[in-house]
């Protein structure tokens, strides 16, 4: 292992990448809505507690209030500019699935626990259920985030080397969690060209699989890294 490939010396260790995935989602989300006093958190809590109706709320982005009704936004998804009109409370996951028909990111836990909705935002793996779509949109003349979903990883009919490695190693059974794993794997391998199995176990720890493909997934990740370097598995 070269020093460059040592996760401790690289820009983002597996531990950090797990942290940042949660950071961009949960922590900043709570900070944002908590700091500005918008009742989104209360709404989530209210629903879980089965309380009486909670009115729709708007969202605050960079100090401006949007909503609560649908607002037009522009997202940059898979190198395409996509216009949509959504309520500010719509998560990125629901925007992708319900408004853009990009259903590769799956909804399972819907609260940042399982990783099945993983997408790549500005190069980082992020739980799409834990971030509002409007937060990533064009705003005040500034371009929004660069969003990559599994559909943008390779053209239709072609397999990205990571997807191909998941296929070859049968690192998928029902396959529902697979797109999330593939994208989490991509952000990891972008920074770790020579991963060990131990590093893979750490880096993909934010994704859950119910069918139990982990033994296969570990190998798929390591083999994909070798193939992408032009080596042989």
């Amino acid at each position: 292992m070269t020093p460059k490939d040592n996760p401790k010396d690289s820009e983002s260790s597996p531990e950090e990448s797990k942290q940042s995935r949660r950071g961009l989602g949960r922590r900043e989300f709570v900070k944002l809505v908590g700091g500005t006093g918008v009742a989104l958190t209360a709404e989530v809590l209210g629903e879980k507690l089965g309380s009486a109706a909670t009115p729709m709320q708007g969202a605050v982005v960079s100090g401006k209030v949007f909503g609560p009704g649908p607002v037009p936004i522009i997202l940059h998804v898979n190198k395409q500019t996509r216009k949509l009109t959504i309520e500010p409370r719509v998560t990125l996951l629901d925007a992708l699935r319900n408004h853009l028909d990009l259903t590769g990111a799956k909804k399972v836990c819907d609260r940042g626990a399982c990783g099945t909705c993983t997408v790549i935002i500005n190069g980082k793996a992020v739980y799409a259920c834990n971030v509002l779509a409007i937060e990533l949109a064009d705003h005040d003349g500034k371009p929004g985030a660069d969003i990559l979903t599994i559909e943008g990883l390779a053209p239709e009919g072609k397999l990205h080397p990571i997807s191909a490695s998941f296929l070859d190693n049968d690192a998928q059974q029902c396959g529902f969690c697979t797109p999330g794993f593939v994208l989490a794997c991509k952000t990891f391998l972008d920074k770790h060209r020579d991963p060990t199995v131990e590093q893979v176990k750490e880096a993909l720890g934010g994704n859950l699989c119910r069918c139990g493909t982990y033994m296969r997934t570990r190998r798929a990740a390591v083999e994909a890294a070798m193939k992408m370097k032009g080596g042989h598995a």
């Binding site: 209210g46 629903e47 879980k48 089965g50 009486a52 109706a53 909670t54 729709m56 309520e87 409370r89 629901d94 699935r97 319900n98 028909d101 259903t103 590769g104 799956k106 909804k107 399972v108 836990c109 819907d110 609260r111 399982c114 099945t116 979903t149 599994i150 559909e151 390779a154 239709e156 072609k158 397999l159 990205h160 997807s163 191909a164 998941f166 296929l167 070859d168 049968d170 690192a171 998928q172 059974q173 029902c174 396959g175 529902f176 697979t178 797109p179 593939v182 993909l204 720890g205 994704n207 859950l208 699989c209 119910r210 069918c211 139990g212 493909t213 982990y214 033994m215 296969r216 570990r218």
Partner: protein, 712 residues
């Protein structure tokens, strides 16, 4: 009479190879469209209102405020006033609105009044459950009391496993779309062909033939998705009322509360042996809950080792914990744990290696004794058991204690009824169609391999159609019954179609059709392989008329399949006696399942089962709050599934070759998920010197057992 037999070992081109799954590219590229992913023009989103109470009577429902909410298009009462709900999360009202968010808002506006009734949500011993019990008839063979009295050594213990849930990644649910009186349902189901009749029974349609069910891929079932359920019928009614397609998938909390649970099982066991280790007597008092009824059934104890003198009593504790559903190998993991833990405890008491005790008693396993012997020896070799095993209680200094555990299991896995239609067209294309489903087990791929092997073609040359009720009806995918069913019907259909093709081709090769075989993309003369015609040219002789043939797997035509497998597993664990944390370093799984069609997906089944096994052994438990009667961990933060880093390694070995292949095809989904709990529990006992009585083996339980055992 056509010869359907599987080709012998030397003549298999595809069967038994490691072949990647056919739908793998769709899945790993995110293009596979699951039920949850289907979006139809004009589609509405459905949400349900659930009972917050574990036991209550619905007094009144007022949906007027909900109906006035923006975007709401239809409301359906699922459980009306006067009806009783028996668990928290029971569905009361369903609402369809333009967006998910609007449907959720409206659901909160529904006013429901309940009359709360007393509930019981803990699976306490029957003596503490008052009248909330159902006693099963005692089962007895021989004289257990006398056998235990005469035994040289008797071990007593209490063992069990908590209620766990299925937690399917793709929630239960469906999309319903009407065209006049005809209903199209996209359902996430293990039982595609059974859904139309269910819709007719629910009076959603007048007759089953009005319903078409579609499901190309599905996101996990594990035994919990045999029915379209009340929400299937409600969704169809919402679609009818609104005149729009409606998609209604369960939210995660509902999925974990009501859409599948494995019954708990606990037992107090007495087990006796002669001085040489021969098991001689068993008595057990067991109990457990499968929710408000006794649908979970009674265990048949002891498991695998049929001790001649036994007495077994079981009591179902009737609770408001939620409904049970079959969970991969129903009852077997629990029975296996109870039996194998008792055997291990007894071996430990006698200072005997439990592997030797199992080997000593294999005659009690019946016809699979030789299989178990081979599998245990293979597992011992992979685990290096005889070198690593030590008597109970690792004496190594420091907090980390290592230990080994062993278990054996069994399952049926005979094929279900199945119908396959095979078409061979003049252009050479081959299509096989069944209204079956692929749960992620590899069913689609297995069907393709069988058809391609039969026609002597590469896998890519065959088109496999499943997941649509317009194809011939097929069985539900449960109990490891699918692979035997679909491989059998596909082999028959394809062989029949091929024989018709042989008849067309035979004259041009100047032989009779019996003299032909399809190998390597050609149809050729068996006795003179150079006398051959390429597949496409052969099919061109059909003119304009394709060949079709139906193949059926019916009870009785058993020549291609069998049932009854063994399986042995060994676990090696490290336990930190200061924190109570258990780590599975290695799980070895040796499994037979007759003739393997696709070794790659078969091995994946075993890896997956072992992973699920580690998960339920260490982490999973449906935790109920006695005060409110609600599930406290109906989410994925606190309902813990094993992650990729939560264990060391799993080693899989599948028994193939002479003695196994000629049995024909046997299902594999269930058996390897049975033993992990027992093997891991036994390994923990071997490591720390005391038994942690129940699964999951949480740190708190490990520490409590150490304290009680005086070893902490």
């Amino acid at each position: 009479m056509a010869d359907y037999r599987w080709p012998p070992a030397g003549k298999r081109a595809l069967i038994g190879q490691r072949i990647s799954r056919l739908d793998g590219p769709w899945k790993s590229s995110g293009r596979a469209k699951y039920t949850y992913d289907v979006n139809r023009p004009g589609m509405l989103h459905g949400k349900m209102v659930l009972s917050p109470y574990a036991h209550a009577k619905v007094v009144s429902i007022d949906t007027s405020a909900a109906e006035a909410m923006p975007g709401v298009k239809a409301v359906e009462i699922m459980t009306g006033p006067g009806k009783e709900v028996l668990w928290a999360g029971h569905e009361i009202v369903a609402i369809a609105a333009e967006t998910e968010e609007q449907a959720r808002d409206a659901a909160r506006r529904v006013q429901i009044r309940y009359e709360q009734l007393p509930h019981l949500v803990s699976d306490v011993e029957p003596g503490k459950a008052g009248e909330h019990i159902k006693q099963f008839n005692e089962q007895a063979d021989g004289d257990a009391d006398q056998a235990l009295q005469q035994a040289d050594v008797v071990s007593e213990g209490e063992y069990g496993a908590s209620v766990i849930v299925h937690c399917c990644p793709e929630a239960h649910g469906q999309l319903a779309e009407w065209d006049g009186d005809n209903l199209t349902l996209y359902v996430s189901t293990q039982n595609l062909s059974g859904i139309p009749a269910e819709m007719a029974q629910a009076k959603v349609v007048d007759s089953a033939d009005q319903v078409r069910v579609l499901m190309p891929v599905m996101g996990g079932g594990f035994g919990s998705k045999f029915a379209a359920d009340t929400w299937g019928a409600a969704c169809a009614r919402l679609a009818k009322k609104s005149g729009r397609p409606v998609k209604m998938m369960l939210e995660r909390d509902q999925e974990l509360m009501v859409a599948g649970a494995r019954p708990s099982m606990y037992a107090k066991v007495r087990l006796g042996a002669k001085r040489d280790g021969t098991l001689v007597g068993w008595s057990s008092e067991s109990w457990g809950t499968s929710g408000p009824d006794a649908s979970g059934g009674a265990p048949n104890l002891p498991y695998v080792v049929r001790i001649p003198d036994r007495r077994v009593r079981h009591t179902a504790v009737l609770t408001n914990i939620g409904p049970a559903r079959p969970w991969r190998a129903p009852l077997n993991p629990q029975m296996c744990l109870i039996t194998m833990a008792a055997v291990e405890d007894l071996a430990s008491k006698m200072g005997m290696d439990p592997l030797e005790m199992l080997l000593k008693n294999l005659q009690l396993t019946g016809p699979l004794a030789k299989t178990y012997q081979e599998e245990l020896e293979k597992a011992a070799q992979l685990m290096d058991w005889r070198k690593k095993w030590h008597p109970r209680g690792d004496k190594t200094p420091g907090p980390i204690r290592r230990g080994l555990g062993v278990s054996i299991h069994t399952w049926g896995g005979g094929g279900h009824p199945s119908n396959c239609n095979c078409i061979i067209r003049p252009d050479g294309s081959v299509e096989v169609s069944l209204a079956s489903q692929d749960l992620g087990t590899g069913t689609r791929t297995v069907i393709g391999i069988v058809a391609a092997e039969t026609c002597g073609l590469p896998l890519e040359a065959v088109k496999v159609n499943i997941g649509d009720t317009k194809y011939p009806p097929d069985g539900a995918s449960g109990g490891s019954s699918t692979v035997g069913g679909v491989s059998s019907s596909t082999r028959r259909a394809t062989t029949k179609a091929l024989n018709q093709l042989f008849e067309k081709v035979a004259p041009s090769l100047a032989v009779t059709s019996d003299d032909l075989e399809a190998v390597g993309g050609q149809i050729r003369v068996k006795s003179n392989p150079s006398n051959a015609i390429p597949w496409k040219q052969a099919c061109a002789k059909l003119g304009t008329t394709p060949i079709t043939a139906l193949g059926q797997r019916q009870p009785g035509n058993d020549d291609l399949l069998s049932s009854g497998v063994g399986g042995a597993q060994m676990a090696e664990v490290s336990v930190d006696v200061e924190t109570g944390i258990v780590h599975v370093n290695r799980l070895v799984a040796v499994q037979d399942c007759g003739l393997i069609i696709d070794l790659k997906t078969a091995e994946s089944q075993v890896y997956g089962a072992c992973t699920m096994g580690i998960s339920y052994s260490l982490f999973e438990e449906k935790i109920m709050d006695e005060q409110t009667g609600r599930c406290l961990n109906a989410d994925m933060e606190f309902y813990k599934l094993a992650g990729i880093g939560d264990f060391g390694e799993i080693m899989v070995h599948i028994m193939t070759g002479p003695g196994y292949d000629e049995r024909g095809v046997i299902g594999l989904g269930e058996p390897p998920v049975i033993s992990p709990g027992a093997a891991i529990s036994n390994a923990v006992a071997n490591a720390i010197g005391v038994r942690v009585p129940t699964l999951p083996l949480t740190p708190a339980k490990v520490l409590a057992a150490l304290e009680k055992g005086g070893a902490a």
